[in-house]
């Protein structure tokens, strides 16, 4: 296997508060290789966006990386500060956020935003950058790119804006793209367009993608591997087909079963009792133990084993035969 583009080892993000230290990300490890799409799923508050923000150095204080390492193309980046991190952001890591309107500058023509990004990170002339800006817009499927470079963000529809954001994320030819809920604000037909575009561009360029979303369907269709997060911890990591069709962690199993798609033809949907614990009240032992139907004594005391490689963070992982 090729050397990973991004390698996260035992990453822990802490937020000190008056009531103690919260851990929105707790001991998470994973790798992404070039050309691979790693899906990160979980419910709100599971820490999926926090992990992405830690990688790109956008944690807002007082949140900070307390433990662990982040390696990007063989160089350690978690301790970089200010200017050094700014050089990597945009150049090595591109970012696509959920809301395409707030991630573009409303006062700058989109061509100027692309040119500015390229001039900051690439050793090219202004004229060359302008030429590349048009090419980049053509590549993401914006009709009449040569004219549209002079348009402002508000002149585009939501789907077109997200295409511009993708062009912007890719224009400095980064080796890693972090896409944080890139299609959540879009309609289903536009979502299909954007996901197809993201998949094609990243495969062609060998870009690694961290795809953060709560939509299992999007993950199933786009991701190669998937990491399931629960209460800041990795619950399960593995190839997407295995995790979705034969989950080994009881939480993943419950999550998959509770999507209306999985309960086709059944009168009632599968339910996981309760809700995810708040970060200031994560239970001892395995974080899922109060809601787990298979809980045993050990789960209440010992935190689950860490999910690394292809594993579930569970003391008693489900065997496939147990699943209906």
């Amino acid at each position: 296997m090729a050397a990973p583009v991004l390698s996260i080892r035992n990453l822990t993000v802490e937020i000190p508060t008056r009531h103690g230290i919260l851990k929105p990300v707790d001991g998470v490890s994973y790798d992404i290789v070039g050309g691979e799409i790693l899906g990160i799923v979980g419910e709100s508050g599971a820490g999926k966006s926090m992990a992405g923000n830690a990688v790109i150095g956008l944690l807002s204080p007082p949140a900070h990386i307390a433990k662990g390492e982040i390696w990007l193309n063989g160089a350690r980046v978690d301790q970089l500060k200010g200017e050094a991190m700014r050089r990597i952001r945009g150049k090595e890591i591109g970012m696509v956020f959920q809301d395409p309107l707030t991630s573009l500058n409303p006062l700058l023509r989109i061509g100027d935003q692309l040119v500015e990004t390229m001039l900051t990170h690439l050793p090219i002339s202004h004229a060359e950058a302008e030429k590349r800006a048009i090419a980049a817009l053509e590549e993401v499927g914006i009709p009449g790119a040569a004219k549209r470079v002079n348009s402002y963000p508000h002149e585009f529809s939501g789907g077109m804006r997200q295409r511009v954001v993708i062009a912007l994320a890719l224009c400095a030819e980064p080796s890693l793209i972090i896409a944080d809920e890139p299609t959540t604000a879009l309609d289903v037909s536009v979502q299909a367009q954007i996901m197809a575009l993201l998949k094609r561009l990243c495969r062609d360029r060998g870009t690694a993608v961290m795809l953060i979303t709560h939509d299992m369907g999007v993950i199933a269709e786009a991701a190669d591997r998937v990491a399931v997060m629960y209460a800041g911890r990795l619950a399960e990591l593995g190839p997407v087909r295995e995790v979705i069709t034969a989950p080994r962690h009881p939480y993943t199993h419950g999550l998959m079963a509770s999507t209306p798609l999985a309960s086709k033809g059944q009168k009632r949907l599968h339910q996981i009792p309760g809700a995810m614990p708040r970060l200031d009240a994560v239970p001892d032992g395995c974080a899922f133990n109060p809601r787990c139907p298979y809980v045993q004594d050990k789960c209440r005391h010992a935190p689950g084993p860490t999910a690394e490689g292809n594993a579930a963070a569970c003391w008693f992982p489900l065997v496939q035969e147990e699943l209906s």
């Binding site: 309609d187 289903v188 367009q193 996901m195 269709e221 999550l255 509770s258 209306p260 086709k264 339910q271």
Partner: protein, 321 residues
């Protein structure tokens, strides 16, 4: 007899610029047709789902059903009473307590300064009814605890708040509840809890739901009948098994193909082309023709009328059995 009967319903919004700008820039008034000539009926104790992408007019229809908006044309009859045109005050009053609504955002639809007890009892208190113990009873029915009545909305999670909204909607013992994206703001595992609760309540109280959503998986699970909307027009209507297994309108087909699937590992479907057109200047003839793979000459010129094909109704010149 149908509980809700919608006939030829239209709604036009005036989106013109201010008067002075129009005079100076010599621009005519601009009108946005959010809903255009929609017909459907909802049978008692069933779930009728309205699906469509943003701008398809589904929420506007919902607001007209409960009387928050007046129709520009056509009418909405609920149990034989047309709220917008009825003149008998007693009749209007009687039918209003039969209709309730649940909104998408459970954070915005509960007054943060009111205790849960007062929020839930308000629909009854506002009409001078007896509210003793009402909130407590309803809280238990939606799976919360009696003690929660004294708390404020900020003490609850999103799923719990949506349960409070449901309890409030049940307070006046309605027959019809219009649910506008009731689970869109919720996580998958919480969504399944709320959907199960809604099904249980429907069976226990004999409720009728009009479910407005963009999520096809929710629709497939919940609905007895589905209406698909595109640019304010009803394009296809049918039972879930007919619609999902054999969609007849090309837009329904496109929508189903585009929806991500849990078993679609590495699916490389060609995504649909184009986006929803500008509703201020909708395309001539069939609104879907610029994106339609089957579009013919007639589709550019004539707006298709709803016609019956097997068990579904479809508005398409090209659709066949």
């Amino acid at each position: 007899m149908a509980l809700v009967s919608v006939k030829n319903l239209s709604r036009v919004f005036d989106v013109s610029k201010p008067w002075l700008n129009r005079v100076l820039e010599r621009e005519p008034k601009a009108f946005l047709t959010a809903v255009s000539e929609v017909d459907f009926e909802v049978e008692p104790q069933t779930t009728y789902a309205l699906v469509g992408e943003s701008g398809s007019g589904k929420s506007t229809i919902g607001r007209m059903l409960v009387g928050l908006l007046k129709p520009s044309g056509g009418n909405v009859d609920i149990d034989g009473v047309d709220l917008a045109n009825e003149t008998d005050a007693a009749k209007i009053d009687a039918i209003r307590s039969d209709i309730q609504m649940i909104f998408q955002d459970p954070y915005a639809s509960l007054n943060p300064r009111w205790r849960v007890r007062d929020i839930i009892a308000e629909p009854v208190a506002a009409r001078g009814g007896k509210t003793d113990g009402l909130a407590e009873k309803l809280l238990e029915q939606v799976g919360l605890s009696v003690k929660d009545a004294g708390k404020f909305p900020h003490e609850f999670s999103g799923g719990q708040r949506q349960r409070i909204c449901i309890a409030r909607a049940l307070a006046s013992e309605p027959r019809l509840i219009v649910c506008d994206e009731p689970t869109s703001a919720l996580d998958v595992s919480v969504q399944s809890q709320v959907l199960n609760l809604m099904s249980d309540l429907k069976d226990n109280f004999g409720l009728t739901y009009v479910l407005i959503t963009h999520d096809l998986t929710v629709v497939q699970h919940m609905a007895d009948r589905i209406g698909v909307l595109y640019l304010g027009r009803l394009v296809e209507e049918g039972a879930p098994e007919d619609l999902f297994d054999a969609p007849k309108h090309p837009y329904t087909q496109m929508l189903l193909d585009a929806a991500p699937r849990m078993d679609g590992f590495g699916r490389e479907a060609t995504p649909p082309e184009g986006e929803i057109p500008d509703p201020i200047n909708p395309p001539s003839g069939c609104a879907f023709h610029p994106r339609c793979p089957l579009a013919a000459e007639v589709c550019h010129k004539e707006r298709p009328v709803m016609r019956r094909l097997g068990n579904t109704r479809v508005a398409c010149h090209m659709a066949e059995e």
